[in-house]
Symmetry: C2
Subunit: 244 residues, 2 copies
DNA sequence: GTCTATATTTAGATAGAC
DNA sequence: GTCTATCTAAATATAGAC
């Protein structure tokens, strides 16, 4: 295996586990049994290295996603029926969710990286988002629109953002779902995740679409005062939340 | 204002913007016009400082959440009607979403910190999650269960995780929703966010609950092979996704 | 409580040999 | 392409004066 690849592998694994700032170029080099200067020879800066790590995986994922999205569109065209939201969501979610626990291909690292990038406002993350995930997002939103004709673009975009957030939380290896469920959930059981997440989001999009069709989604800032804070109730014993 | 508070403020603002590893003790000290040693005198280590930053805000938020959750329970008890899922979700989401854009109180920083912590597998983040957000999560799940009697604990916990992910994506100040919507969305319009997010998640939970009641949610790993990969279609022109 | 001064380690980056 | 050696800046942390 060539050094460039070894360096990418090392960087990917470490960035995934400890984040962009949590990893030094030296650690990346050590992980690849190379010298720091070689890392900088190949990738020049840390940010460029991070971008290269993301690019390598994301191309594959996005091809998979587009292939599935196409299949959904083709199927609905062939059968003459309209596009099924559930299929669109599955096409969007499955590639990432399935890969997120695949340790043999390094897909698990990709999942962690995407989790970091998604909600991070910092430049290195926004650059990756802009270059690699925004294009596929626009395409997905376009297909979602076909299945959700009553949603305006603003509302649909918000829903897309929410959906991505759900997916990211589903694949982040924090172990939290196991803790909160008292071991009832297996965070590595991707099939169960998909079996719940797809209908979850399906119901979510359709509910908002229904409300929009009924004209019950206030546009803009119309409802600023519509949801007032309830007065502090003293009706039952105060529940304690541990402060430490 | 005392130094300890100034240091907490400085740390909060910087951790929020650049993350745990992206901020040094020196930068925290400089931001508070103090010396590094003073920071270490008050908080000993960086991880302890991070924990202190989180604790300060989270107590307030959790009280607000519990107050609202209680109000929902009391209301439903008083009216004799069953608990409305929409109210539970609003009680859970509103405190964080509303605060997430409040620059006068520093709530915007809290929102960013929660975003970081939620999906981060690293020790400093898990420690915060365990100490401060898991207790309120358990309480919220318990109340959700009242409104969703057909969900088993595992499925409900997964749905809760998904919901938190949506909320976090909704409040993360990445500007992505603005970009993807071509400026149709205003990321700071928290009332619109809530007006979409609440029914979005409401529809999501109810859909999964309906499926569970109908026995259509395969438990465990039953459906491993149920969703095969579709064959690569060549039916239409390949869409291009920018590779850079 | 708050500071200066300092110790030790590590960061990202470069120059130049091979 | 890959290395050693080195630079400069920055990191966390401590000791000790006030």
């Amino acid at each position: 295996m060539d050094m460039r690849t070894k360096i990418l592998d090392s960087a990917e694994a470490q960035f995934a586990q400890r984040g962009y700032h949590g990893v030094s170029m030296r650690q990346v080099a050590d992980g690849a049994s190379a010298s720091i200067s070689l890392v900088q020879y190949h990738f020049k800066t840390k940010e460029a290295l991070f971008g290269a790590v993301m690019e390598r995986r994301i191309t594959t994922i996005n091809h998979d996603r587009l292939r599935r999205l196409d299949a959904v569109e083709v199927d609905s065209a062939r059968s003459g029926s309209s596009l099924r939201l559930e299929d669109v969501l599955h096409a969007f979610l499955a590639p990432t969710v399935l890969l997120s626990r695949d340790r043999t291909s390094g897909g698990n690292y990709y999942a962690q990286l995407i989790s970091q990038v998604t909600n991070d406002p910092q430049p290195h993350a926004r650059a990756v988002s802009k270059a690699y995930t925004d294009p596929i997002a626009r395409q997905t939103i376009r297909v979602l629109q076909l299945a959700l004709p009553d949603l305006d673009r603003a509302t649909l975009t918000w829903c897309y953002i929410f959906a991505v957030g759900s997916m990211v939380s589903a694949i982040s290896p924090t172990g939290r779902v196991r803790v909160l469920s008292n071991d009832d959930c297996d965070p590595d059981d991707v099939n169960t995740i998909l079996a719940i997440l797809v209908p979850f989001l399906c119901g979510a999009f359709e509910r908002v679409n229904d409300l929009a069709r009924a004209g019950k989604l206030p546009k803009g800032k119309a409802l600023a005062a519509a949801m007032p804070l309830p007065p502090a109730p003293r009706a039952k014993a105060r529940r304690k939340v541990p402060a430490t």
